[in-house]
Amino acid sequence: MVDSSYCRLPVLGLTPFNPHNGQARFFALRLPRPPGTAWESWRPGQFVMLRPDSFGLELPWGRPLCICHVTDCCLTCFFQVRGRGTRRMAHLRPGDMVGLWGPLGNGFAKEEDAPVLLLAGGMGIAPFVGYVNTHPKPWNVSMLFGHREPLESYPVNNINEFVPLDCFWEREPGDLRLFLQALEERMSENARFGGLALACGPLPFLQAVRELGLKLQARVQLSLESVMACGVGACLGCVTPAGQAWPEPGKRGRPVQVCRRGPVFWVDQVEL
């Protein structure tokens, strides 16, 4: 028998982040640790596909969510309510069953001794929670965070406990300029020291980081969000063009699966 990487789990808890701020839109979802040896070697940046039973036949796809915390007994993910699926997920109660498959994808590079600059936009903060929690030398890590919702909406406490965090709240268009300025300064400084920069967030943010990364010839990895049906490389729905430095020359410029070959890519190995 195959030790299937699919399992069904009862929800342990769903905690809203900003309960005082009207209707909650950000949640921590706690599940039992899924069975299987794959979970002994999961990497931050990897994700799971999660599909609550309450999706019925109406919502056929699972939803990709980053793996944030894995302990001996629990798996925690953070999510933001965006559309139909996450709206239903916001109603999950303890004991409700969800289907889950993973860990999926490749995960971020981890270099103990290099300076690491984490760049997050909005819910793009999620994969970094696991990253800072499992980094053996967190003093080498720092983070820049741009967000539109109040800071309490995001799992920042799980981060600034370990690493210095600079936050930029974007409330009006001018704020974005400040953030981009800081981004450029910090990325050039980090590149001068041979550091590694890791970014996750909305597409325009990743495009800005990619451009800077290429200009500075810095070592930068981007975690992409694409719409996913299968999560395992089978449907070819989530593809993005491979970049000019893609390891297989025949595939350069041609579509590769984000779910399987990513979601984390070196800047020069992907086109956006």
């Binding site: 299937s4 049906a229 089978a234 449907c235 070819l236």
Partner: protein, 310 residues
């Protein structure tokens, strides 16, 4: 209970250990799903559509979730027949389960060349001919929408691949699917699979744009099950060759309904996205479901539909 089935073709039979296959384009090349079940427990699997030369497919977004289904306009991305035969097929467990190649081409001649290339591959149990593709030589009309063209493709593939079981996969986007079915049977098909996706469309009202970059795409999933059942029923009544039911199949009960409608085997497609062990589980659950619904054998079930117009 013995679940083995033989699809008795006009030229070649296709023996399956059970009637559960997976549908092309939803199961990759099989190995993607190896972490979720034993591939050899399946009756077989149909791999992603293969063309003579590599194709990049359509621009993104090219999949979209819809109510009880999904739209796709992947556009047949694949690395071509040569890569499939030399790099992918050797890794597949074809000695233990039926591996079926799904073929895509833009002209009758190209279909024949592709079939000729695949015919010699020992690892392929059958060829499934996707006639839901545009004929570039004749203004882009779909082969599957014209009985004459569908027959021309079928007989060209039949001739070019004399050693293989030929399964022709029909499109539901036609006025009379039974008519197309009869013409591919006459042209030498060994079996018929139906249905491929239904042509659909979705819009983004805020952006006032189509939701898919390709504008239109194929609808699949539980939403299309009633259409698929109707097509299987109509086709099974019209031809003598076996029919393989595809469209919205998720559970063992769905599979039994298709067999009752006249199918000899089934394919699981979008269900694989709902849970990656969907097809494996369906195989496991089939005996229980038969017991629950008093099904003595699949043959018995197939001949037993009571309806006023049968």
């Amino acid at each position: 209970m013995n679940l083995a089935v033989v699809l008795r073709g006009q030229t070649h039979d296709l023996a399956l250990k059970n009637p559960v296959l997976t549908a092309s384009g939803t199961f990759g090349y099989g190995l993607e799903y190896a972490p979720y079940g034993e591939l050899k427990s399946l009756g077989g699997f149909v791999v992603k559509g293969i063309s003579l030369t590599p194709r990049d497919g359509n621009p993104c977004p090219r999949v979209l979730e819809t109510a009880s289904g999904m739209l796709n306009s992947i556009g047949l991305q694949n690395d071509g027949a040569e890569d499939f035969c030399t790099r992918k097929l050797p890794l597949l467990p074809w000695r233990e389960t039926a591996v079926i190649a799904n073929m895509y081409a833009c002209s009758v001649e190209e279909f024949a060349r592709l079939a000729g290339r695949l015919d010699g591959e020992e690892g392929l149990a059958a060829l499934e001919v996707n006639v839901s593709c545009p004929n570039v030589e004749q203004g882009g009309a779909l082969f599957g929408q014209d009985a004459r063209l569908a027959a021309a493709v079928t007989s060209a593939v039949r001739k070019a691949a004399p050693s293989k079981h030929i399964m022709v996969k029909l499109s539901p986007n036609v006025a009379d699917i039974a008519l197309i079915a009869k013409s591919v049977e006459e042209a030498g098909a060994d079996s018929i699979s139906c249905i491929n996706t239904l042509l659909g469309m979705a819009l983004d009202l805020r952006a006032r744009r189509p939701a898919l970059a390709n504008v239109v795409g194929g609808l699949s999933g539980p939403a299309i099950k009633p259409v698929a059942l109707r097509c299987v029923w109509q086709v099974a009544r019209a031809v003598r060759i076996p029919v393989v039911g595809v469209g919205g199949i998720v559970t063992a009960v769905d599979a039994l309904e298709f067999i009752l409608a006249g199918a000899s085997a089934v394919q699981v497609g979008t269900g694989n996205f709902m849970r990656p062990d969907c097809a494996f589980r369906l195989v496991e659950r089939l005996p229980e479901a038969c017991a629950e619904y008093g099904v003595a054998s699949l043959d018995e079930l197939r001949a037993s539909l009571c309806c006023p117009t049968c």
